[in-house]
């Protein structure tokens, strides 16, 4: 009976990687509809090493990893394992070569209503070679011993849906080892874990490493990367910037590499006199958000920055009543408001441009006109009847004001480009009585032209004495547009920086858990 994880106890025989084997990606090129995502990237991971892959959002890390796991096909370049060029056309190819990924969203890879055993031994159970009858006794034992190999015990008969997040992660790792993984990608594995659970994960990673598995470790958290990784590779704008031994580099150098020195986009910041406080939040908490105080004044643009997963979107949704807050109070112009639903927020004078544009911001099957009037229709109707002329007039005026590129206000919004869709999503709030505008990653997936239109629009809102909360993980953007910057980390605002004192380096330092 083969128990692959027996190899974990220092015995390398089973994995068959006696000499130092390696996986190399050479000159990988990938484009998405003409836009280069990867420009000739070289990346290597050796057996028995933990290699960190770092980069800001959009640097190309996930694209590179998706090529390695067969989710995408590269447009150019080659992948070489132990000196032999291999072809990875599908996730099956990658698996056959021993490449496994422990995804951040563990639930997408597990079957919730099957037992721990079934999930760990999934391949074995579904493989054609397995006999028709299951020897459950034996399978459960096998799963148990695999978990024990890692020094853990999860009741193997338990359903996966009853497992905690860290247990699910462990199940995924166990499955990867059963499937004879030689290279394992960890995609932000500690993002959902507590400190204690993270420590346990590091122990497991260490065991895998000792067993000769090559590990690619993606994370935004610099302290842990410097704690467990042997080498660090930094990517930026689809290119490899530097690969260095962890011992030979510093956090500052890594941050510098991630951000780059020249960021030549122009952010037209309009100086506006800042007035009275409009919105105040006290100890707002719920879900990922663990007690946030903040305030926004008239004419002020407050940037809320943090890495992906820091809780920015969750905070925005709490302040908009889209999710129920567990604690905290929100005051608008000194008056406390109860936010049980987005309608309460809209009635009180708060507008939100949500992060997931297509899912939450716009109605793709409806016209530009219907999208733009959705939040103001109560004003534009008479005895319940829509005043169609007024509605069309408003739509035309907004299209002009926003610079939406559309043939006609009757055009379905689904046909517009991402940038123009975003302008429509913003536009529906402009004629409401909103006093506070919240933008959650408003420039995500938006071209440069539309980006500067959006910045200009936000500047105009500030000129009109509105308060703006700008949630983003694009530090350069926030530096350009915000009067004040709040840095979030793990659901809390860990630092407030004035426009004068903020730099990308300082933001990155606090956003990745620096004290």
């Amino acid at each position: 009976m083969a128990i692959p994880v027996a190899s974990v106890n220092g015995n390398l025989v089973y994995l068959g990687v006696r000499k130092v084997s390696s996986l190399q990606m050479k000159g990988i090129v990938k484009q998405f509809s003409g836009v280069p995502a990867l420009r000739s990237v070289d990346f290597e991971v050796k057996a028995g090493e933990v290699h960190a892959l770092l980069g800001a959002n959009g640097a190309g890390k996930s694209t590179l990893m998706k090529i390695l796991t067969g989710a995408y096909q590269a447009d150019g370049g080659s992948i070489v394992i132990d000196g032999k060029e291999v072809s990875i056309q599908s996730p099956q190819d990658a698996k056959a070569l021993g490449i496994q990924c422990v995804y951040q969203e563990v639930d997408t890879a597990l079957i919730p209503y099957l037992s721990v055993t079934e999930n760990i031994l999934l391949d074995q159970i579904v493989s054609k070679s397995s006999k028709g009858l299951m020897n459950w006794q034996r399978l459960h034992k096998e799963a148990e011993s695999i978990l024990q190999g890692f020094g853990f015990s999860i009741p193997v008969r338990m359903l996966v849906e009853e497992c905690s997040l860290s247990e699910k992660q462990l199940i995924l790792i166990a499955r990867a080892t059963v499937q004879k993984a030689k290279y394992v990608i960890f995609d932000e594995p500690t993002a959902p874990l507590s400190t204690k659970e993270s420590e346990r994960l590091f122990l497991i990673i260490d065991q895998l490493k000792k067993a000769g598995v090559g590990i690619i470790y993606i994370s935004h958290r610099l302290p842990e990367i410097f704690g467990i990784c042997d080498r660090i590779t930094v990517m930026r704008d689809g290119q490899l910037i530097a690969t260095s031994e962890t011992a030979a580099t510093t956090m500052d150098e890594v941050i510098g590499n991630m951000l780059g020195k020249s960021f030549d986009e122009e952010f037209p910041k309009v100086e506006v006199p800042i007035g009275e406080v409009i919105l105040e939040a006290d100890g707002v908490a719920g879900g990922k958000v663990r007690g946030v105080d903040l305030s926004v004044r008239e004419g002020e643009i407050v940037g809320v920055v943090g890495l992906v997963g820091a809780g920015k979107t969750e905070l925005a949704r709490l302040l908009f009543g889209a999710d129920a807050a567990e604690a905290g109070r929100v005051r608008l112009k000194g008056k406390e408001v109860r936010l049980r639903s987005p309608k309460d927020a809209v009635d009180a004078g708060i507008g939100l441009v949500p992060e997931e544009r297509r899912k939450e911001g716009i109605f793709v099957e409806e016209s530009v006109k219907n999208n733009l009037s959705v939040s103001t229709l109560w004003k534009g109707s008479h005895l319940g009847f829509i005043r169609r002329g007024a509605e069309a007039g408003q739509a035309r005026e907004l299209v002009q004001r926003l610079g939406v590129k559309t043939a006609d206000i009757g055009q379905l919004v689904g046909y517009l480009s991402g940038g123009n869709q975003q302008k429509v999503a913003i536009g529906k709030w402009l004629d409401t009585d909103a006093q506070v505008f919240m933008f959650d990653e408003p420039t995500k997936g938006v071209d440069i032209g539309a980006k500067s239109d959006i910045y200009r629009l936000i500047g105009k809102l500030a000129e009109q004495r509105k308060g703006v909360l700008y949630f983003s993980c694009e530090f350069a953007e926030v530096l350009g547009i915000a009067d004040r910057i709040l840095v979030m980390f793990e659901g809390k605002i860990v630092r407030e920086l004035s426009r004068a004192e903020a730099t990308q380096e300082r933001i990155m330092y606090y956003a990745s858990g620096g004290e």
Partner: protein
């Protein structure tokens, strides 16, 4: 070549349903001279009037992105209850109209409660209600159809009878137009105006178009979803009362066949004039298509048990056109 093929498809997409109706009517009138007479046309319209009521209800639930399977049972319920008000309890206009309407509103509210508040998927919640309401109407009528002079349990005869004004709703005529046809036209016109020209109508569509975006735009989406289920049950209830008036009997289980026809009409309606979404006018055309087919097949003496084959085929074709177009749109 490519361009020509596409425009042909666009034509089918926009006018296919209407074209099929015209072709079918031409075919039937060629084979039977009686088909294209005023009497037969009003007959067809009268025969579809009740299904149209139910189908418009279904259309409302589809508009908010839901589904209401319980409409057939609601039809049965109000048919039996309105008949019993007159035949068993000798009630006048007020109780005969109000009691069934209130009952259907309650059905709608319970549906809304299950779907909107408890968050049971719409198909399952309304499936449960299909059973419950069907069982209620069977229990209430003890499984007997209700008609004048029917024997009661104690051996006596039922005291009341169907009243003239009630029968007039289902059988009467104004200027040689059947009353149920007039009522149907009225309902189609009113709901069409409501959905197209009023704020509430627009909000119903926005809610169904993207629930989360609608919620985040400040629309009280749960209120609109509740409204849709209540209206769905209400129109089904009115349809049931009309059915009792038309046949002069409170027939048990009379609504069970209505569900599928109503759903078919509403879905055929997606494709009418290329709307691509549920709409009242399309639903009406869908109901007409089904009515024309049934009427023609009856005249051709086709065996009635084969009707469902034709109905199913028409539905599949209409859906194929709608969903093919949807896929093309997504790709574009």
């Amino acid at each position: 070549m490519e361009g020509k093929k596409f425009s042909l498809f666009d034509f089918i997409y926009k006018y296919g349903t209407v074209a099929v109706i015209v072709i079918v009517m031409l075919l039937f009138s060629l084979t039977n001279p009686y088909f294209f007479t005023y009497d037969n046309i009003t007959d067809i319209l009268r025969s579809i009037s009740i299904v149209t009521f139910v189908a418009i209800g279904v259309t409302f639930s589809l508009i908010v992105g839901g589904f209401d399977l319980s409409v057939g049972s609601t039809v049965s319920l109000t048919t039996v209850v309105s008949a019993s008000m007159m035949v068993w309890y000798e009630q006048g206009v007020f109780a005969t109209l109000v009691v069934p309407i209130v009952l259907s509103l309650i059905v709608g509210l319970v549906n809304a409660f299950l779907v909107v508040k408890i968050r049971i998927p719409d198909l399952l919640a309304t499936l449960a209600m299909l059973y419950i309401v069907n069982g209620l109407h069977m229990t209430y009528s003890k499984g007997y159809s209700i008609y004048a002079n029917m024997p009661m349990e104690d051996g006596s005869m039922a005291p009341g009878k169907f009243q003239e004004w009630f029968l007039w709703l289902g059988q009467g005529k104004i200027f040689s137009l059947p009353v149920p046809v007039i009522l149907t036209f009225l309902l189609v016109a009113i709901t069409h105006v409501y959905l197209t020209y009023t704020r509430q109508g627009r909000m119903l569509y926005m809610t169904g178009g993207n629930l989360e975006a609608a919620r985040l735009s400040g629309i009280p989406v749960n209120r609109y979803r509740t409204l849709a289920y209540v209206l769905s049950a209400l129109f089904a209830g009115l349809g049931g009362m009309l059915l009792a008036a038309r046949i002069g009997t409170g027939q048990v289980s009379s609504g069970s066949s209505m569900l599928m026809d109503a759903v078919a009409a509403a879905f055929v309606g997606f494709s009418v004039f290329g709307a691509g979404k549920p709409n009242v006018f399309g639903t009406f055309v869908g109901a007409i298509l089904i009515g024309v087919l049934l009427n023609g097949m009856t005249m051709l003496n086709l065996p009635y048990f084969a009707y469902d084959i034709i109905k199913g085929t028409v539905l599949a074709l209409a859906l194929a056109v709608t969903y093919y177009q949807l896929r093309r749109k997504r790709k574009a």
